[in-house]
């Protein structure tokens, strides 16, 4: 078996290796941005559609018996001699869902795609916890969806990291099934970041539709290994029998420049179709190579894309 695409760097075994202190300090100033306004069960730092006690005025309404007298606008009463209640936008907490593709296809590349996804999930989760948001983690493959929900507060960072370390890639993707499960879990609405290579035979449109329909503000981060992006540069050569890590299907190729060119053409077309699908259903998307600098990705690029602020 060739070592093309085989992970040769050290794998993270500790939480600290998923999220270094230097990156952590860079992330302290960031926060998750929801493009939609959601309602939460607990008062948080986000505006909610439900009006309530907050600092941001929304509207007035006539007083009825039983209303909290603290919210009567006495100035209006003085002018109009009628009782009006001040209505404020209630600030609710935001739920950040992070769905990590834990299929076997993620266990590939240098840097490893799954490790990249775990480190990115850790970083995003840390940002969310630091901003007093709720974090829910999902790991999905053909065996089902593993989850860790209801994380609140920075102190749960280590729990989150340990959960990610314990998550092992195996089996197929079953993206649609996983999205269906996640969308119906109702762990709290908010932003759902999907971390996957999105290499699905049937595409990801249907699965994303489930998620969006379930109320999630979906943001897809498609991560691909350098070996998948530029096979010749990564050392692909010779007459090969390629084996699919998930399905076990085989494909025989001779690594020639025209063939690789055609492969790249197909990859471009596929990635472009994913981007178009995301746009069509109102989801955000970004495609990254796993050799990209994590801090640069978070601080510069995801902030620019509106996922962070």
């Amino acid at each position: 078996m060739s070592n093309f695409g085989e992970t040769i760097h050290d794998r993270p075994s500790k939480v600290d290796e998923l999220l270094g202190s230097h990156l952590m300090s860079s992330l302290d100033s960031l926060d998750i941005v929801a493009r939609k306004i959601f309602s939460g069960k607990t008062q948080g730092e986000r505006k909610s559609r439900r009006r309530g006690s907050s600092v941001e005025f929304a509207d007035y309404r006539q007083y009825t018996s039983g209303d909290d007298l603290r919210f009567i606008d006495w100035n209006v009463y003085a002018r109009l001699d009628r009782l009006f209640m001040k209505i404020f936008l209630e600030e609710e907490e935001l739920t950040l869902g992070i769905a990590v593709d834990a299929s076997a296809s993620m266990e590939f590349g240098n840097p490893n795609k799954f490790d990249f996804a775990r480190r990115l999930a850790m970083a995003l989760g840390y940002v969310a916890l630091s901003s007093h948001n709720k974090v829910s983690l999902f790991g999905f493959n053909s065996d089902g969806v593993q989850r860790l929900t209801g994380l609140r507060g920075r102190r749960r960072t280590r729990d989150m990291g340990q959960w990610l370390l314990d998550l092992l890639p195996s089996g197929g993707t079953s993206f649609v099934d996983a999205c269906k499960v996640i969308s119906t879990s109702r762990q709290g609405r908010g932003v759902l970041v999907v971390l996957s290579d999105c290499l699905e035979e049937d595409g990801i449109t249907q699965g994303l539709s489930y998620l969006v329909g379930g109320g999630w503000d979906v943001f897809v981060i498609q991560s691909l290994a350098p070996e998948e992006v530029s096979p010749l540069d990564a050392g692909l050569e010779g007459d090969l029998r390629l084996e699919d890590s998930e399905s076990g299907a085989e494909c025989e190729i001779t690594a020639t420049a025209p063939l690789v060119a055609k492969y790249k053409q197909r990859l471009e077309q596929y990635c472009e179709s994913i981007r178009e699908q995301c746009i069509r259903i109102g989801a955000g998307s970004v495609r990254v190579s796993t050799d990209v600098d994590m801090e640069q990705l978070l601080v510069e690029y995801l902030r620019g894309r509106g996922l962070l602020r």
């Binding site: 010749l232 010779g238 090969l240 025989e252 420049a257 190579s289």
Partner: protein
Amino acid sequence: MTWVTPSAGLLLGAIVIPLLLLMYFLRLRRRPLRISSTMLWERAVEDLHANTPFQRLRPSTLLLLQLIALIFVVLALMQPQIEGGSPREGTHIILIDRSGSMAAVDGDGITRLAIAKEKASDLVNQIYGGGLFSSTSGETMVIAFSGHAEVVAPFTDSKQQLLHAIESIQPTHGKSSIGEPLKLARAYTTNVDPEQDGISSSEFAQLELFSDGLIDDIQDQALQGGETLQYHMIGSPLDKNIGISTIDAKRSDESSDDVQVFLSLVNTNSQDETVEIELQIDGVPVGVQEVQIPKQSDGLAGTSSLVFVPFSMPQSGVIKARLLLEDSLAIDNQASLIIPPAKELKVLVAEEGAQIVRTVLQGMPLADLKIVTSSKLKTMIESGESSAYDIVVIRNIHLDTLPRGKYLIFGEPPPIAPFDTFADGEAQVMLVADENHPVMRFVRYEDIVVTKGYDVVLQNTVETLLEGSNWPAVMTSRVDGIQLVYVAFDPINSNWPYLRSFPFFIFNVVQFLGHAGDQLTASTMEIGQTITENIRVDGKASLVEPDGETHTILVDKSGNVSWGPVRLSGVHTISSDKHSDSLFAINSPPQESLIASTEQISIGAKEVVTSTSSGLSFIQLWPWALGAVLVVLIAEWWVYQKKVSTPLRLSWTQGGSERKGIR
């Protein structure tokens, strides 16, 4: 088209072509590689759809080209050839006629010898053209012959040696004789076994004769037991020719300075021919004459003779007669003759009294000067010894008889009819002379005074050369084989011996009588013989053939040179730095002018008809098949390069606004 080794080609094809197809059917042994997903590769790769040990054979340019190349290899191995008979085996002796008649050209301007060489080469190719996998043929020898035979290639099975030897055969203009080549061939095929008391054994050989059949001695020969003769006729029985068969020349009887040329012409055409003949002396045309030659009849060529008007040629030189026409055979359209310088004479002299005449003769370049008394002269005349001398000079001697010969007679009239009537002549002076006659050339006669002489009554057969005031003083006559110059007075009775004109006169008479009627026939040298000459100098000399080819020849201690055998007709020149050129004119044999090829030859009692398969030869096609293989392989390489080497690389990072690795 035939195939030399079809089985070898078919065997190779049966093995290799299925192997090639199998290689395309079989899947390539590939290195396994686990990747995240084969989804995109499957869409990109063309040859991914087979799951069985054999994949479906899809149209492939490379496969097609490789199959074509393989088929050409198979064809080459089968050694295709066109136009050929069955391979000949055994020992062969190729006899190629290179005589003068083989210099005749056909309509395309190709000589018969060239055609014979080409056909002989074809035969060699036929014998040894079986290719790499054919059985080995026997050995072959090549003999070229005309009047003489030459082994140009001894027995060998080397095709290249045989072809080179055949190509090297040079034409000759000699006659054709097959006796010597047959002797040579038999000498090479006869083995003497000393252990069996010298009993010889002959290896039977197939004689392959390439000739026009015009061979002089063919009927005198016979095939020995086991010998077979294959006759390949060259040329056509309908070929016609006009030529000069013989040339001859002699000095005029009237004047030794004048030369007469005689020609004999031959015509093998079916109609009378009128031709013009040009005569040259030392390359300068001196005359053209027209002659009609009768047509060939009853199988005999028409002949005609021609005599040119005598022309002055006192010195030596080269006479060349040339037919002003172009026909099949050029070598007999001209003939040459070397006119030698006047020969040195033998003179017998007898005189009474003062030694006047002998003194003059002793000062002349003569081969022999015999001085005898009058009685001795009479004895020699009676015994016939005098006829050994070119000229007999007689002064004041009375003779009873005068045999045939040439005489200069002073005084006493000769005892022959024209001079039998005479009287005593009175003193006189000379009045008139025939100054155009060679005898009187440069002779000043005006000062001659004669005191007495003989007054001969002139007859018709006598020509007066010098007329005196009273009687003719000098006369000449030719009667009954006697040619003489008669001076009708004894010089002692005149003042002539004291005059300068006297030795001039003696000289003129000796030259006139000595060379008149000289036969100037060309040397009897024939083509095939050796030229020998004594040039009386040491060192090196060179011989120039009529075609301009120059050979350096060595001179031995005695100054002799020799070169041969002569192969061409025409003038051969031997020259050296210290010696004047020696010329030899050799003409083609007259029988070579008859160029109509014979379809049937008789060798002994056996009649041989020209072979009908003489033109067959194999043209090997396998080199073309190999060439096609190369072309197809080049095309296959080009297609392969085009297919696999397109330098197309797509960068993952495209667009300046996007960061590396992120889209």
